[in-house]
């Protein structure tokens, strides 16, 4: 029952059942407002180059986020540090608008010495939080743009025997700042048994190192059985082993997205072949939850840390000038002490020359 209908009915008549106020209508109002406003979602993808991140993103959202992409050779990669590239795309489906920002991190894990490759990423995440905090505490809070990273897909190589030292360190550095969803890339390298073993191994290592990955919330008890079952299956399949592709291949008479090998066709959307559909389902059905957790958990953590550290200051500049001031004060003190010493020396000389009274200053 929309507002317009009510007006059409003419009057503010009493609804059928007594005791019925009508605020059960609220969700619909919220729904309409949100649809008009559109949704924002920021997804970060991290992983070594060559793991199929771009292909997977394109497959997930059925777009081409990187139309003019040149893949650099190894020689060109030598001097590069990790960079942050954010691409935004507006997708619309059945009237619902989604403003999707994908943050890519080329150069991660490529260098021979990857010691510093995640400091850039962490400062990016912090910057987004900082900006939101600044906007939120500002005077005009009407149009706050939410660029905070809501979810981070971490791509694990299927070739190893579990997590690499770099994977562990990175996830530990960001698990308190962003929702981490581990994803096993290029899963068509693995047989079924290998996939199971790798998943178990990864989960064990995540437990062992105390890494907090994103956990799907349990289905509410009032949801229907299907949804509960789906949630159970999703939870059991983490980390998701995915294959991405945007090429259409002919298989068994119909066109599917997949990869064509001499020994068979891997179908991207076949749940027996890989977990692509599960990943997509999880992302779509839990987009709201991811945003909530980012707001309620990670952002609040960041905010309390910042406020504890900086009092009511809002930017890094005041801190810096503070330090500058302290430095200047210290320098002034040093100069004063040097002057005093010089004075003392001069006086001692004078006394020494003139066989003085032996009085010390």
């Amino acid at each position: 029952m929309s507002q317009a209908d009510k007006m059409k009915q003419g009057q503010f008549t009493n609804p059928e059942t007594p005791g019925y106020v009508g605020f059960a209508n609220l969700p619909n109002q919220v729904h309409r407002k949100s649809v008009k406003k559109g949704f924002e979602f920021t997804l970060m993808v991290v992983g070594e180059s060559g793991l199929g991140k771009s292909t997977l993103i394109n497959s997930l959202f059925l777009t081409d986020l990187y139309p003019e992409r040149i893949i650099p050779g190894a020689a060109e990669k030598i001097e590069r540090t990790v960079q942050i590239e954010a691409s935004t795309v507006e997708i619309e489906e059945r009237g619902v608008k989604l403003r999707l920002t994908v943050v890519d991190t080329p150069g991660y894990g490529d260098a021979i010495n990857s010691q510093d490759c995640f400091s850039t990423i962490i400062s990016y995440i912090d910057d987004q939080f900082e900006r939101y905090l600044h906007d939120e505490s500002g005077l005009n809070r009407r149009h706050i743009v939410d660029n905070r990273v809501h979810c981070c897909f971490y791509f694990i190589s299927p070739l190893g025997h579990g997590l690499k030292p770099l994977d562990v360190q990175f996830m530990k550095a960001i698990h308190n700042k962003v929702n981490v969803v581990p994803v096993i890339a290029k899963a068509d390298t693995l047989t079924l048994r290998e996939r199971e073993r790798l998943k178990r191994r990864i989960l064990d290592e995540i437990d062992e190192h105390g890494i907090k990955i994103y956990h799907l919330p349990d289905a509410e008890s009032d949801e229907d059985e299907d949804f509960k079952e789906q949630t159970r299956i999703l939870k059991a399949s983490i980390p998701f082993a995915v294959v991405g592709s945007n090429q259409q291949i002919e298989a068994k008479g119909k066109k599917v997205r997949g990869r064509l090998y001499p020994w068979g066709v891997v179908e991207v959307e076949n749940p027996e072949h890989n977990d692509f559909l599960k990943l997509r389902t999880m992302l779509i059905t839990h987009m709201q939850d991811l945003q909530e957790v980012t707001q309620d958990l990670h952002y609040e953590n960041f905010r309390s840390e910042r406020l504890k550290r900086g009092g009511s200051r809002k930017g890094p500049e005041p801190e810096e000038t503070d330090k500058d001031m302290i430095l200047q004060e210290k320098e002034a003190e040093l100069r004063r002490m040097q002057e005093m010493i010089a004075k003392m020396q001069a006086q001692m000389q004078k006394h020494g020359d003139g066989e003085g009274d032996g009085q010390h200053v």
Binding site: I71, N113, H161, R197, E267
Partner: protein, 417 residues
């Protein structure tokens, strides 16, 4: 065929007047009527002839064209000494060049039997067996152990206990060498597999090729020490790395920096064969693109992988090796499990969408790698290691510790330098 003692009275030096011919000498005459000289059987030349052929001896040099004489290249030693050992100055293949090729097609007046030297060497090799040392380098999880097991069709890798490994990644690069004796067709091979766990696995992989380079040089050093001894062993144990298989990760993009650095530093000490591991990650087109990109990058980095262009000896070698170089790096898949495909049992990997057959040339290039590595270039790998890489090391060392780790000077003073 044992030679029959023959002689005529006036030629035999042993016969003195008045003495009856010693029982083991008989007078005989060729069917053609020509007299035949006979010399007491010397232990140096194996004589083999059949009726109707001319028995060539050193005396008859004025009658027979000189080229037919066995060339000095042939080791003039009794067959029971001088097995084809690495310290022998004449590589066995030089033999083929010495007798057949360089004589420029001289016309033999009959069958001499020089070509039987191949048979003799074969028998020798079968008795003594030979060594082969192969090193595998690549970060963990690229299927190095599985590939070796597949190549040599036996559990030669140190981790033969399947997949369930609970070993942690070591903090530094370790070198682990395991030896096995394999026998096939009567030929014994001592295969040593040198594994390098920990390579490329750390966060900071600076200079992780150094332990490997050191190990390779240590083996050369060991060999050099044995060689310069005054009393040498009959057969110096050869632990030098003959071949290094470098595993490239199948990202589909390009080489990693670490790959280029490693190959730059070590391609002049050891034969490096780059291969693309776990090639079932890529479709055929992706594979071709990737290979081209990798080859270009290797060229740009000035990396000479085996078979090196500069060591091609003749046109035949060059054309064979060119064909191989065109398809390198080879994209391989390894497996030690068998599955039933079209009624045959094949080695492969079974997935939900099909079976990747390891030995099917349409699926991957494993068969090509095996043929190249084992069936055609095994001996060549050893030779290039001995004649070129080892010699380079030796020259550097003998010119006075030019940048290599110093050796205690007492040794060099005792030696025959």
């Amino acid at each position: 065929m044992p030679s029959q003692p023959q002689g005529t009275g006036h030629h035999t030096p042993v016969d003195t007047a008045g003495k009856s011919p010693t029982p083991h000498k008989q007078t005989d005459v060729l069917p053609s009527g020509a007299p035949i000289t006979e010399k007491p059987e010397e232990p140096y030349y194996v004589t083999m002839y059949s009726p109707g052929t001319v028995y060539v001896s050193m005396d008859m040099s004025d009658i027979v064209p000189p080229e037919v004489r066995p060339k000095p290249v042939v080791p003039a030693k009794p067959p029971h000494v001088g097995a084809p050992s690495p310290s022998s100055p004449y590589p066995p293949q030089g033999l083929g060049a010495g007798t057949g090729g360089s004589s420029g097609g001289s016309t033999l007046l009959g069958y001499i039997g020089i070509d039987t030297i191949i048979e003799q060497m074969r028998k020798k090799t079968m008795k003594t067996g030979f060594d082969f040392n192969i090193m595998v380098v690549g970060h963990s999880g690229l299927g190095k152990s599985t590939l070796l097991n597949t190549l040599f069709k036996s559990q030669v890798s140190r981790r033969s206990a399947g997949w369930a490994r609970d070993e942690k990644i070591p903090k530094t690069v370790e070198i682990k060498a395991v030896s096995h004796f394999i026998e096939e067709g009567g030929v014994k091979m001592k295969l040593t597999v040198v594994d390098t766990p920990g390579f490329g696995d750390q966060i900071n992989n600076d200079n992780c090729w150094e332990p490997i380079g050191k190990y390779i040089n240590e083996q050369y050093e060991k060999f050099l020490k044995e060689e310069v001894n005054i009393t040498r062993k009959k057969r110096i144990p050869d632990t030098r790395v003959h071949c290094c298989l470098y595993f490239i990760s199948p990202t589909g993009h390009s080489l990693r920096q670490l790959d280029i650095e490693f190959m730059k530093h070590l391609s002049h000490s050891v034969n490096i064969i780059p291969i693309i591991a776990k090639a079932d990650t890529m479709t055929i087109e992706e594979r071709q693109d990737f290979k081209q990109r990798v080859r270009k990058e290797l060229e740009m980095g000035g990396i000479e992988y085996y078979p090196q262009k500069e060591f091609d000896e003749d046109m035949e070698d060059k054309s064979d090796n060119d064909k191989i170089r065109e398809s390198m790096p080879l994209a391989v898949v390894g497996s030690d499990k068998e599955y039933q495909v079209n009624g045959k049992r094949v080695l492969g990997r079974k997935t939900a969408w099909g079976v990747v057959e390891v030995e099917n040339p349409n699926h991957c290039e494993f068969a090509q790698l095996r043929d190249f590595l084992i069936r055609s270039h095994l001996q060549d790998l050893k030779e290039v290691t001995h004649n070129i890489h080892y010699e380079t090391y030796r020259a550097k060392r003998l010119h006075g510790n030019g940048g290599l780790h110093p050796v205690s000077t007492n040794d060099t003073q005792e030696s025959n330098l």
